[in-house]
């Protein structure tokens, strides 16, 4: 296929970068670790700012605007406040688990960025199984969340953690299936090559895939309308009810870093990653990430929360069948359609998406229309 245009030169670029220097690849590792941590922390702050200000404006108020110009330093102020708070561990808590949980929840999220390309070849490790690595590593967060729920010895926390595990296990499947259909087109698991293959952003080739991935991604990272793990009006704060101070900060950070990770992966998989005219690639990448995140903020502002059984029903009855069908159709298209005609594929896929969503909307009823408890 023409869309699979490998740019091997640029891939070799980073591999040739450090050998002259002492320490060999460790320089590369160091530079990118710093870049990734800086990128994540900075964008998380940006996200918090965007979320609070954007949400404020959508709710007819201003949002935080006191610290720094336009309230830009609000995340910093929040961070300082939260770090200075007392660290409270409940008496009956499982101390070790309670302590370990935020670390386990946060570390994998940071590790995801190891394979996300910021521009052509600018990636910590261009693993040839990159997207598989992302799927594998991002699920580890759930363990941290469950540990938090268990270790807090609080019923609300436990409920939140149980919901989290149930939801993540279910949503992982449509998530992986939609990724598989993208991989099917590209023919590679490497994120850099997925980006390089996107002469046409895959959101056009895979509209249904994008929709499914966005929904499943939102559910996976606990964004509204699927924010049941910490549904504030039901179970107070879910798994992090009993956390304060630095540990809470880590959870807070992990939550937004997860959002950032999912936005980055959506950008990479469906929105042509760092590719774009005029602006430097890393800026394109950041912009796209922010746009994806803004959509998440927008839905969070508008939508009510679903119930746990509805959440599961959505995963198994709506997302999973559609993801399977999408995978099948993509497979057929990759095999049969001539590579020179991507526009046929785009049109066909859009038609199929509309048809399927309408059809499934009719089929899809909780308990076949019965009211289930």
């Amino acid at each position: 296929m023409t869309i699979l245009n490998f740019n091997l030169n640029s891939i070799q670029y980073w591999q040739t970068l450090p050998p002259d220097w002492p320490g060999e690849f460790w320089w590369h590792w160091l530079v990118f670790t710093v870049i990734i941590i800086g990128f994540v922390l900075l964008l998380v702050m940006g996200f918090i700012y965007i979320e609070r200000r954007g949400m404020g404006r959508m709710q007819a108020r201003l949002g935080p605007n006191r610290t720094g110009p336009f309230g830009l330093l609000q995340p910093v102020a929040d961070a300082i406040k939260i770090l200075l708070k007392e660290d409270i561990v409940p008496t009956k808590a499982d101390k070790l688990v309670h302590w370990l949980a935020p670390v386990i929840a946060f570390a994998p999220v940071l590790m995801v960025f190891a394979v996300v390309p910021f521009q052509n070849g600018a990636v910590l490790a261009d693993l040839n199984i990159g997207i598989l690595y992302v799927v594998a590593i991002s699920s580890v967060t759930t363990v941290g969340i469950f540990m938090a729920g268990w270790g807090s010895s609080n019923k609300y926390s436990l409920l939140g953690a149980m919901r989290s595990v149930a939801a993540v296990v279910s949503y992982e499947i449509p998530l992986v299936l939609t990724i598989a259909s993208v991989v099917l087109i590209v023919g590679s698991l490497s994120l850099n090559q997925i980006v390089l293959a996107q002469d046409i952003p895959f959101i056009l080739l895979q509209p249904l895939g994008f929709l499914l991935y966005f929904i499943a991604g939102c559910a996976e990272i606990n964004r509204s309308p699927f924010d049941l793990f910490e549904a504030d009006s039901e179970i107070v704060a879910g798994f992090h009810t009993e956390y304060s101070g630095m540990k809470f900060a880590l959870f807070y950070l992990a939550e937004y870093a997860e959002a950032l990770a999912i936005s980055a992966i959506i950008t990479t998989l469906f929105l042509a990653g760092w590719r774009g005219p005029l602006l430097p690639p890393w800026l394109w990448f950041t912009l796209k990430v922010i746009i994806v995140f803004f959509v998440m903020v927008w839905t969070r502002t508008t939508l009510p929360r679903v119930r746990i059984d509805q959440l599961m029903a959505l995963a198994w009855k709506f997302l999973l069948p559609l993801a399977l069908i999408n995978l099948l159709i993509t497979g057929i298209e990759v095999l049969t359609l001539p590579a020179a005609l991507p526009w046929v594929m785009i049109l066909a896929n859009f038609a199929i998406m509309v048809l399927l969503v309408l059809l499934w909307s009719k089929f899809f009823r909780l308990g076949g229309g019965r009211v289930e408890v």
């Binding site: 007819a60 409920l159 509204s224 009006s233 107070v236 009510p304 679903v306 119930r307 509805q310």
Partner: protein, 367 residues
């Protein structure tokens, strides 16, 4: 392999984001499903009924402000109606109209909070709540203009209202009446047809018609179950018999119906205010009532349709300056009786929205 499970007790409250005050639900859960629930309250008990026995008849009016603090005007009206019935006091016509305008404005304000917090309980993260607070603010501004305070109005007096409305009130009210329907439409656009809300609220927490009557539910809870019972129509007090308005009712009695009934009631209130504004006669707003009122020995029950339901004051007089007994029939308390029937079998998330759909005010429950 059979897993051994056991129900566990979850205390929802007294400090919980969605209990609308200090209210506790002792829920026994099987997983997420509610097996048993018992409401526990009294955290806000101030003994208003006892306090009222030691105060003069006019001194009780500020106390009634603190019952259902989201609808002080209605509480004031219910109380002064009871006293007027007890002491047989005539109220000037203009005052009656002003009372109706204020109470209907108050109903809009209270329903805005009721609906807003219900939607917030559903998980719509503060957006409908803040939109509705914006409009409530406009109502509160107007009530503030008239009475001088934003929450505890203390506006009604025995035999009228405390002061006539200022000149700028009627233009402001007119403007509000023009704006408000658009805003109600906006709320409907925001969430009325939202699939997630429909899934969450439709068919959830059904209160059947017979049970609703048997349980003495009143207000939107009763009407949501399809009973056309509104004291403004059934037993018109003040000058309600002069206005044309409909009683919106639900069909099934689920959370969604109660939510819709509240929204429709806001529209009806606007209709009433409009008519009252057009008919507003000139004249005095307060009849001559002795400062320390001594009603004849006897008893009176004055009831109104407050935003939460039937609010009644049962006063017993022994011809002294303070009532011998002042009982308050608080709609929130009695509506809560239905809580257990509505909640059992539903999930904890539903329990929250069922509680939100009853729209209680803790100040009134505990008194």
């Amino acid at each position: 392999m059979a897993l051994r499970t056991e129900p566990f007790v979850l205390n929802v409250g007294p400090v919980h984001p969605s209990t609308h005050g200090v209210f506790r639900m002792r829920a026994t859960l099987d997983g997420e499903v509610i097996v048993n629930i018992e409401p526990v309250f009294g955290y806000l008990h101030r003994g208003i009924e006892k306090l009222a026995e030691e105060r003069t008849y006019s001194g009780i009016i500020p106390l009634t402000d603190r019952l259902d603090y989201l609808a002080s005007m209605s509480n004031n009206l219910a109380y002064v109606l009871a006293v007027e019935k007890l002491a047989e006091i005539e109220v000037p016509e203009r005052a009656e109209y002003l009372r109706v305008i204020m109470v209907e404005l108050q109903r809009i304000a209270s329903h805005l909070i009721g609906v807003g917090s219900f939607l917030n309980d559903c998980g719509a993260f503060f957006t409908p709540f803040l939109y509705m607070f914006r409009e409530r603010e406009k109502v509160v501004d107007m009530l503030d203009m008239v009475s001088g305070q934003r929450l505890t109005y203390n506006y009604m007096r025995i035999g009228g209202v405390s002061q006539d409305i200022p000149d700028e009130f009627l233009p402001a009210l007119d403007k509000f009446l023009k704006q408000m329907p658009g805003f109600i439409d906006e709320y409907d656009q925001l969430l009325k047809e939202n699939e997630i809300l429909l899934a969450r609220a439709k068919g959830v927490g059904i209160l059947p018609k017979e049970l609703a009557i048997n349980i003495s539910a009143s207000g939107p809870v009763l009407r949501g179950s399809g009973v056309k019972w509104d004291i403004r129509k059934a037993d018109p007090y003040s000058v309600y018999d002069r206005f044309e308005f409909d009683i919106p009712t639900g069909t099934v009695g689920d959370c969604y119906d109660r939510y819709r009934v509240r929204v429709e009631e806001m529209r009806q209130s606007l209709r009433i205010i409009k008519q009252a504004m057009e008919q507003l006669p000139p004249g005095a707003v307060r009849s001559e009532v002795p400062h320390l009122l001594r009603p004849p020995v006897g008893e009176a029950y004055g009831h109104i349709e407050s935003p939460k339901g039937e609010l009644g004051f049962y006063l017993v007089s022994d011809n002294s300056i303070a009532p011998y007994r002042c009982h308050i029939r608080a709609p929130s308390l009695i509506n809560l009786t239905a809580l257990r029937d509505m909640m059992i079998g539903w999930k904890i998330a539903d329990a929250i929205i069922i509680f939100g759909s009853i729209d209680v005010c803790m100040g009134e429950i505990d008194r």
